[in-house]
Amino acid sequence: MADVALGAPVAEAEAPEAAPHPPLQIPQFNIVPRVGLAISVVVTALVIVAIAVNKLWPLTFFHVGGGAAWTIIDLFLGLVLGPIMGMMSPQARVEFTTRLMPKMVVIMPTVVTMTLAAGWQLSTKMGTNLTSYPQHGWVVASFIVVGVMSVLALGLLEPANIAVLFELKKPRPRPEIIERLMKRFIYCAGILGLMQIATLVIMTKLAAS
C-alpha cells in the first residue's frame, strides 16, 4: 500500500456516517527527488565552469536563463497556481502538493544560485557593478530587491516547503499544519512574484541603457 490515509481514524471512530469527505490519500513521494538532485549538481558544475572560463556567452546564458526561470516560476506560482490551489478539493490539493513541492525543493535553490553567481561574475566582467557605471543606482536597486527576495525565500519559503513535505510523510499528517505551511508558501511566492516585477523593470532598464 503506497498511500496513507489522512484523518481517517478519527473520522471513522467518532461518526462514520457523518463524515463529509472520504479520507485523504497521500501518494508516495520522495522529499528530495534523486533525479532532480543529479540535474542540480550538473547545472551547478556548469555554472562553476562558466565562472572559471569567464566568457561572456556562458555567463549571460546562465544569468539570463536562470533569472528568467526564477521570475517566471515566482510569478506563475504566486499569482496563477496559488489561487487555483486554494480552490482545489483537499484531495486534489494533497496530490498536487506531493508532486510539486519536492521539485521546488531542488529547483529554486539551484535557479537562484545559478542566477546570482553568474550575474555577479557577468557584472564584474562588464564593469556594471562598479561605482563608475552610469546606471550604478539601478544596479544597487537590483541588489536591494534581490536581497529582500533572498531573505523571504530563505527564511520563510524554503523552510515551509520542506516542512510541509515532512508533515505529509507522517503516518497521520495534521491538515491544519499542512494548510498553515502551504498558505505561508503561497503568500510568500505571491510577494516574491510581485517583487519579480521590480526586477524586470530594473533589468530591462539596464539592458536598454
Binding site: 569567464n54 544560485t113 515551509a160 516542512a163 513535505l165 515532512f166
Partner: protein, 135 residues
C-alpha cells in the same frame, strides 16, 4: 489541539539574514573604491549575535525533536555549504582580498549555519521528540 510555544527562531533568523544581506549590499555597492569596513563589521557582528541568541534559545527548548532537527539540518547544511562555497569561489575568482573578503567570508559562514538551523527548526517543531513518520 493546543499549539506549543517556541522561541522566535524564525523572526531572529530573518533579522540575522537581513543584516547579512545589508552588509553584502553595502560592500558591493562601493566597488571598486576602498570601503570603510566599520558598518559592514557592525552588521556582521549583530547578525552573528542573533545567530548565537537563536542557538541558545533553541538549546533551552524542552521536549524538542532534536533527532529530526539534526536529520534535516545536516543535509540542509551540506547544501548551503555548497552554495556558500560557490559564492566564495566567485569572490576569490575576482581577486577580492583583505578586509572585505574576511567580512564577506564570515557573512557566508553565518548564512550557511543560520539557514539550515531555520529549516531544521521549522520541520522539527511539528514533530514529537520520539521519532515518528516514514521519511
Amino acid at each position: 489541539m493546543t499549539e506549543r510555544s517556541f522561541p522566535p527562531v524564525t523572526q531572529l533568523a530573518m533579522a540575522s539574514l537581513t543584516l547579512i544581506v545589508a552588509g553584502g549590499i553595502y560592500l558591493s555597492s562601493h566597488l571598486p573604491r576602498p570601503v570603510p569596513l566599520g558598518p559592514a563589521v557592525a552588521l556582521l557582528a549583530a547578525s552573528a549575535v542573533l545567530l548565537a541568541i537563536n542557538l541558545a534559545l533553541l538549546a533551552r527548548v524542552e521536549g524538542f525533536a532534536w533527532d529530526r532537527f539534526f536529520q534535516v539540518g545536516k543535509w540542509s547544511l551540506l547544501a548551503y555549504i555548497a552554495i556558500a562555497g560557490m559564492i566564495e569561489y566567485v569572490f576569490l575568482r575576482d581577486h577580492l582580498s583583505g578586509g572585505p573578503l574576511v567580512v564577506l567570508t564570515l557573512s557566508l559562514v553565518v548564512f550557511a549555519v543560520h539557514v539550515p538551523t531555520l529549516v531544521g527548526f521549522t520541520v522539527a517543531r511539528y514533530f514529537d521528540p520520539a521519532p515518528v513518520g516514514r521519511g
